[in-house]
């Protein structure tokens, strides 16, 4: 039986967002989201942990090329989200509320096609040190 190992890389980014559903009234938005419904936005320092699963390559001992993983994270996620106003500047959130849950799912969608060595196992996104979301790809992961 091959030994599957999980490798995690951490990255940080800062971004602003607000929670607002245009299909609901202003009162309803305020009731559901409280202070987060303020459309001037507020910011977070997010921490992202990306976990890749695989069997270490017998030649290198590595599940995935770490330099390549770092470049993928930078290019596909950080360049898009870091120091951005998510609602205004990131097209993925034009019609989706940028909650931690939705951001994690979006990040999975951006990363999964790029990870060719190994398999994307989990995206964990901390909105604050006390609040984080795990996404395992929606059930099609092993």
């Amino acid at each position: 039986m091959s030994q599957e190992v999980l490798l995690t890389r951490r990255a940080e980014f800062s971004a602003a967002h607000f929670y607002y559903n245009p299909a609901l009234s202003a009162e309803e938005n305020e009731r559901l989201f409280g202070k987060c419904a303020n459309r001037q936005g507020h910011g977070h320092n997010y921490t992202l942990e990306v976990t890749v699963a695989g069997t270490p390559d017998p030649r290198t001992g590595m599940v995935v090329d770490l330099k390549e993983l770092k470049e993928i994270l930078q290019r596909e996620v950080l360049d898009l989200f870091d120091h951005r106003s998510l609602n205004h500047e990131v097209p993925l959130f034009r019609d989706r509320i940028p909650t931690t849950e939705n951001i994690a799912v979006a990040i999975w969608g951006l990363l999964a096609p790029q990870i060719r060595k190994g398999r994307l196992h989990r995206v964990r996104l901390y909105e604050t040190p006390d609040l984080f979301v795990d996404y395992y790809g929606g059930g099609d992961a092993g």
């Binding site: 097209p91 993925l92 034009r94 096609p113």
Partner: protein, 344 residues
């Protein structure tokens, strides 16, 4: 009125250098409901880049340009294909070498509503890095502005019509009602053909400089610029040798000859020639000064940087050469465009 009333139609063929910037600048504009990119059989990394962009831009759609019907022009066919797919009240035709300013589409829509125009078009600010871009692009554009002035095109009482396909916003119902797709299908100058069809049908145009709307880097290499203006100049200048002859005569007598006379006369006078040589040099210099002042005024009116004035004479020389080359190509009956050959 819909919050996002615009569908972008963006034809691309081998645009791996430019396409990312163009699409990302469109993707953040809230007035745009969808970006329909028509890939005209690209053989470089364009398709791969589009696939990657589609993962991060949910309202981006990529469509393949079908097989080209006999007599059709690739880009024009791609525009028509994209327009067929578009759903919004307004169509924004644009090119891969254009970077749209934040809020640009919003400003264009506001102008369209204010002016009542059915077709709004802007000439983007030009990004020019090399000497030959600085020499040729302002020289050509200021000359074209005499043929197709912004005021005349925007005036419903005057028949002249033009538009810049790098930013052309038109009501979809007008595009359809005027049969614009047929008007452009076989045309090399799709933007001018579209503007003519719309104005002839009685609708208003608004044509203006657009440095706050978008910017463009049209040509990165000299051969690209040479081919691009060869394709466009002859039809733009009237599509006949009489018009071209008029332009060549003006450049020869007003721009180039005075330089030769000035140099010859100055040398001759310097070698002890009579006052006649000095007078000739003085006259030639005066003509050149006047021409430069007129060019400075045209540069300002067309929002080009004033330092382009240093390239006036070499720009005129290249403009003349391009005009002749374009006229010869059209007279011979064949034009090359991105790897295809068209009978003209």
């Amino acid at each position: 009125m819909a919050a996002a009333p615009v569908s972008v139609v963006l034809p691309v063929r081998n645009e791996e250098e430019n396409i990312r910037r163009a699409i990302e600048s469109l993707a953040v504009q809230p007035e745009i409901a969808e970006i329909v990119v028509v890939d005209d059989h690209s053989t470089d990394r364009t398709a791969e880049i589009l696939k990657n962009l589609a993962t991060r831009i949910p309202h981006l759609r990529v469509v393949r340009n079908g097989a080209l019907p006999e007599g059709s022009v690739g880009k024009s066919h791609a525009l028509a294909t994209g327009a067929e797919q578009a759903r919004s009240a307004w169509l924004l035709f644009t090119d891969a070498d254009v970077c749209h300013a934040p809020g640009g589409v919003g400003r264009a829509l506001a102008l369209a509503r204010q002016s009542g125009a059915a077709l709004v078009s802007f000439s983007p600010a030009q990004e020019m890095a090399s000497w030959w871009e600085r020499a040729v692009i302002p020289r050509v554009y200021t000359a074209l502005a005499q043929e197709f002035s912004y005021e005349a095109v925007s005036d419903p009482a005057r028949p002249v019509a033009a538009a810049n396909g790098q930013f052309l916003l038109v009501r979809r119902e007008v595009y359809e009602a005027t049969g614009a797709a047929d008007a452009i299908e076989r045309e090399i100058l799709d933007d001018v053909a579209l503007a003519r069809r719309v104005k002839d049908a009685g609708y208003c145009l608004h044509f203006a400089p657009g440095e706050d709307i978008a910017r463009t880097r049209m040509y990165r290499r000299f051969p690209e610029m040479w081919r691009g203006w060869t394709k466009n100049l002859f039809p733009l200048l009237g599509a006949n040798w009489r018009c071209v002859g008029g332009w060549l005569a003006k450049i020869f007598f007003a721009d180039l000859s005075p330089v030769v006379v000035l140099l010859t006369a100055a040398v001759a006078w310097g070698r002890g020639g009579g006052a006649g040589w000095l007078a000739a040099a003085g006259l030639a210099a005066a003509i050149l000064v006047v021409r430069h002042l007129l060019y400075a005024r045209a540069l300002r009116a067309n929002r080009f940087p004033l330092h382009s004035i240093w390239y006036y004479v070499v720009g005129s020389l290249l403009f003349a050469a391009l005009m002749v080359h374009s006229a010869v190509k059209y007279t011979r009956g064949r034009i090359e465009w991105k790897g295809r050959s068209y009978a003209v």
